[in-house]
């Protein structure tokens, strides 16, 4: 609990709203799917962009709405909290397979009403079968997608791609009513596709105003029936705010916060996708805050409560995934990423009063959303860095920390102009974006470099199935030297990059044909200026992001080949190849040699780290040879979030000692779990050798610290120093986890994965997995007590 001017936070109201949000039963909701289907049926002759505009407008006019009398900030895309929705125009095949099992699936289940099953099966599915985005993508490139699937996972095949930071600033300056008027007037003076675009944008913006007015009306009606005076006052305020927003831009801080929330609700009603991100909220709300404070109508107490309320709201929309995807993106990482701190236009520190209030809201709410990011740079005030340390120490993994000194140059390297690069924010998890003018298509595909290495060792054949997956480039046993192996590896990578970009072009083209997004486009520069939808390349910046997976396994595996096989000759080429194909069966000593006889990435061993760097650079160069559908460049990301688990399932045993089908290194730039033993500064040294400047799409590093790191001010100040040193290194991002008792139990059960985990007892540090079982148990016991206390 924080304490502002003597009052305990969060407030009773916030605690109550939080409780209601978390405990709400999740249902499948087909209400909007029904509206969309009806509109598409009725308007089958219209161009897609108008069908999409009519569907969204009808949804904004008709969708059931509700307001909790306690709510300071109103609005949702479904009447139920955290309902799962499906947009049939994107794809329905997974729901056709899984609608009955949604309630019983192990991860992130949803209740399904029996009448919804028949509605879906009788009315929705039959209309859409064969007509969706997904159907067209598979029709055009299905074979190609499966031909490369062991190495490349193509994303965004059955839903809108989301992953964008809208221009919230201009949304707040103009409001939807002015934006609508502008679009309609532009529509009058243009022709052809541009005219359609402006017409569609004007239509949905006008509907957005009506949507807000509906909330105003409902709040007024509820106020009329509300016996409690305080709640009645609140509802009347909500009503007035929504009414004002439907007719003009916000004039108070509270209206601005409400306006931000409406923007994200409506974006979700148009696109149902993950990772629409609010971006630099402390920057675009600060003027509202200061104006109200100066006018005496706002103080930190009220402002924090509004932030708390908004934080809760971000948890009321969840993105329902298919069963397989839900296992890997468990717990609804919807990707509302808020960025605080960082530099201003001239490199000056831009943190402000709201940066701190937003960090405090994280302390108050501690729910999965929003995803909170703190930007640090060399002039970040100590107070801000230390407040970040304090919040990180709470153990929610937030805020994640990003480094302006590394990211801004990387964005410039990627071609972003100076007037935009300073204003970057994070989208979704760690994806980089400028503010409000950037379609990064950041999750276009994941490229499994580890699988490509497997193919390079085995003449293009998958070691798990024996199938020919890549070109014939020879067997490890036949390579006369390390160079020949490198040559084979380059051929495999280059082959799959070319194939991948062909498929990505098809995917983007189908998105343009099925999912033009006039509402989103009206808040992404310069779509409204040039009359072009965002899916057609209307944004100022048009990238596609491909994730390179995974630097650690590549560096470690090639280091083993270089040293043990081609260097010392301690292990024969055929011997290793045979062992890999057999998943090291009956050859644990060889596997242990692979693990222990060659240094690993993450331990500040330069020659090993350089191997990783070299291949990451090669991959990035290959990407640069291609252009995406919107005419923009491909750029590399170095993150997987949790996809290191499914990606690992495709990969046989690897020379770094990893067993077949087990997870790859996590995160993106993290060392292979259990292989880094020299502590966090060594990890950072290794990571800083991987050229993050080429990762314009973002990178991810996970680090774990013990709870004791944050238990007193002296130790915490050392953590703060660690953050202050980070900004001097070419490392984009770190996410900090605090080790829990659960994790120690896993370490005890699976010591190999936790070799680097140190623990502290009574001021002494030891490797946890080297302790005897009874000592481990005592430590687990104590960590549990610490958590309870």
């Amino acid at each position: 609990m924080t304490n502002i001017s003597g009052k305990a936070y969060p407030s009773e109201r916030i605690l109550s709203l939080r409780r209601k949000t978390v405990s709400a039963e999740r249902y499948l909701s087909l209400e909007q799917a029904g509206i969309i289907t009806r509109v598409y049926r009725q308007k089958s002759d219209l161009p897609v962009i108008l069908k999409r505009a009519y569907s969204l407008s009808a949804s904004l006019d008709e969708i059931s709405i509700t307001i909790d009398p306690q709510e300071l900030i109103a609005g949702n895309r479904t009447v139920g909290i955290r309902a799962g929705v499906v947009f049939p125009e994107a794809g329905i095949s997974w729901l056709e397979r899984e609608i009955e099992t949604l309630p019983s699936r192990p991860q992130d289940p949803f209740h399904v009403r029996p009448e919804d099953i028949s509605f879906f099966r009788d009315h929705i599915a039959p209309f859409w079968r064969g007509k969706t985005l997904e159907d067209d993508i598979y029709g055009a490139a299905g074979e190609e997608i499966s031909a490369i699937e062991t190495v490349v996972k193509i994303n965004q095949k059955d839903h809108a791609q989301g992953h964008i930071c809208p221009d919230v600033k201009s949304w707040l300056i103009h409001g939807p009513s002015a934006l609508a008027a502008n679009a309609l007037s532009l529509s009058g003076s243009s022709s052809g596709e541009k005219k359609l675009f402006f017409e569609a944008a004007g239509m949905v913006l006008a509907a957005a105003c009506r949507f807000m007015e509906r909330y105003s009306g409902l709040a007024a009606r509820l106020a009329g029936d509300e016996p409690d005076e305080k709640l009645r006052g609140n509802l009347m305020q909500v009503s007035a705010n929504c009414h004002n927003l439907s007719t003009g831009p916000p004039s108070t801080f509270r209206e601005a916060v409400q306006s931000v929330w409406f923007l994200f609700v409506i974006l979700q009603m148009e696109s149902n996708a993950s990772s629409f991100s609010p971006g630099r909220m402390d920057q675009y709300l600060i003027d509202f805050y200061r104006k109200d404070v100066a006018a005496g109508i706002l103080d930190n107490e009220i402002a924090l409560e509004l932030m708390d309320a908004l934080f809760i709201k971000f948890n009321q929309i969840v993105y329902m995934r298919n069963g397989k995807s839900a296992r890997y993106f468990a717990g609804f990482p919807t990707g509302f990423n808020i960025t605080v701190g960082g530099t201003g236009k001239n490199g000056e520190d831009a943190s402000n009063e709201l940066s701190y209030l937003i960090l405090k809201a994280q302390e108050d709410i501690r729910l999965p959303q929003p995803n909170l990011t703190a930007r640090l740079h060399r002039n970040s005030p100590d107070e801000f860095t230390d407040e970040c340390s304090r919040i990180i120490g709470l153990g929610t993994g937030m805020p994640q920390v990003v480094n302006d000194e590394s990211i801004i140059p990387a964005m410039r390297h990627a071609g972003i102009h100076d007037e935009d690069s300073f204003d970057y924010s994070l989208v979704g998890c760690v994806e980089l974006s400028t503010s409000g003018n950037y379609l990064g298509w950041s999750d276009a595909a994941m490229f499994n470099l580890v699988k490509a290495l497997e193919l390079a060792l085995n003449n293009g054949k998958c070691m798990l199935t024996g199938k020919q997956a890549g070109p014939n480039t020879g067997y490890l046993s036949g390579f006369p030297d390390y160079r020949s192996l490198e040559e084979a590896y380059r051929k495999q990578i280059s082959h799959f990059v070319s194939k991948m970009t062909e498929v990505c072009t098809v995917v983007e083209k189908c998105h343009r044909e099925h999912l033009p997004s006039p509402f989103l486009s009206s808040v992404v520069n310069h779509c409204l200026r040039n009359g072009t939808d965002v899916t057609a390349g209307g944004a100022k910046y048009n990238y596609s992001g491909i994730q390179a997976i995974q630097a650690a396994n590549i560096a470690d595996s090639l280091a083993v080949l270089k040293k043990l096989v081609f260097g010392d000759g301690l292990v024969g080429k055929a011997e290793l190849l045979g062992a890999l194909r057999n998943n090291f069966r009956d050859n644990e000593p060889l596997r242990q040699m692979c693990i222990n006889r060659v240094p690993k990435y993450g331990n500040d061993v330069e020659w090993v780290d350089r191997i990783g760097a070299e291949w990451i650079e090669y991959f990035s160069e290959q990407l640069k040879r291609h252009r995406n559908f919107r005419g923009g460049p491909y750029q590399m990301g170095l993150y997987t979030v949790s996809a290191h688990v499914p990606m690992g399932q495709y990969v046989g045993a690897t020379p770094d000692g990893r067993l077949a089908c087990t997870p790859l290194a996590d995160g993106g730039l993290s060392p292979m779990y259990g292989r880094d033993k020299e502590g966090p500064t060594s990890v950072l040294a290794s990571v800083s050798r991987i050229p993050s400047r080429l990762a314009g799409n973002g990178s991810l590093l996970n680090m774990k610290f013990l709870p004791s790191m944050f238990s007193n001010e002296t130790d915490r100040s050392k953590f703060t120093s660690f953050l202050k040193t980070l900004v001097k290194m070419p490392v984009h991002h770190i996410q900090f986890n605090v080790v829990s008792a659960e994790e120690l139990k896993r370490a005890k059960a699976d010591p190999e994965a936790y070799r680097g985990l140190t623990i502290r007892v009574a001021g002494y540090t030891a490797y946890f997995t080297e302790l005897d079982s009874d000592l481990q148990d005592e430590i687990i016991q104590r960590t549990t007590q610490g958590e309870n206390g």
Binding site: L590, N596, R597, E678, T681, S682, S717, F722, L775
Partner: protein, 283 residues
Amino acid sequence: MAETKGTIFRIRRFSIHDGPGIRTSVFLKGCPLRCSWCHSPEGIDAQISVWHTPGLCISCKRCLTACHNEALKMSSGSVLIDRAKCTLTGGCTEVCPAGAMQFTGRTITAQEVFREVRKDIAFYGTSGGGLTLTGGEPLFQPEFSLEILELCRKAGIHTAIETSLFADLDVAEKISSAAELIIADLKIFDPQEHETYTGQSNEKITGNFLFLAETGKALTVRIPLIPGITDTAENINAISAFAGSAGRNIPVELIEYNPLAANNYRRLGIPFQPDRVFNKDNL
């Protein structure tokens, strides 16, 4: 300059409890004291030996055949080392694929240590950290310690030593003058008791301490809290009064006893006397 070599048993980067800021701690092997509770038994002996970590062992038995002295045998998943037969040729450590059979330390030059320490120089700068020589006993390898300290000092790295101060005055004086901070581990004030539990009288220690205190050198006192031995009010008060008698404000820190020490005794295959004690509040 001659390459001064020494013996260490560990270098720990991101060390945050051995002096101010973020530090690199270098653990020197060999100690003239024989504290009954020693929590780094692998640091006592100046000689490198071999130890075995059961948790890493995969029972492949390669070490058994690699040993020419038949000093090893397998017993319930663990390798037992007959130290009378072991001649430290290291055959077992070379063949062990799992890193379970290892030397307890290594020989290294002062330059090599310095190169390791230098790696985290950026972190020392932001945190006010640096190098800490500890052990074992850094005063036990005076030339080696001195050279490391001087190399670091020239590079602008803050230097500290953590020491029992058991050494001849000239050694203590020389090394102390090369370090910016002395962390003195004072254990037992009563000279008789000190001899009983550490094998040596504390006369040299107290003498060195008073000498250093007079020079104005930055000093911190640490008292390890060994249940029933050093943690009595009488002992703590006596050491605190002694530190105060120097007429300066010398901070006194109380350090919890290390409950994990038993683990390292087991790995070394030597008996461990005191009962393990966990202090509840210190995880």
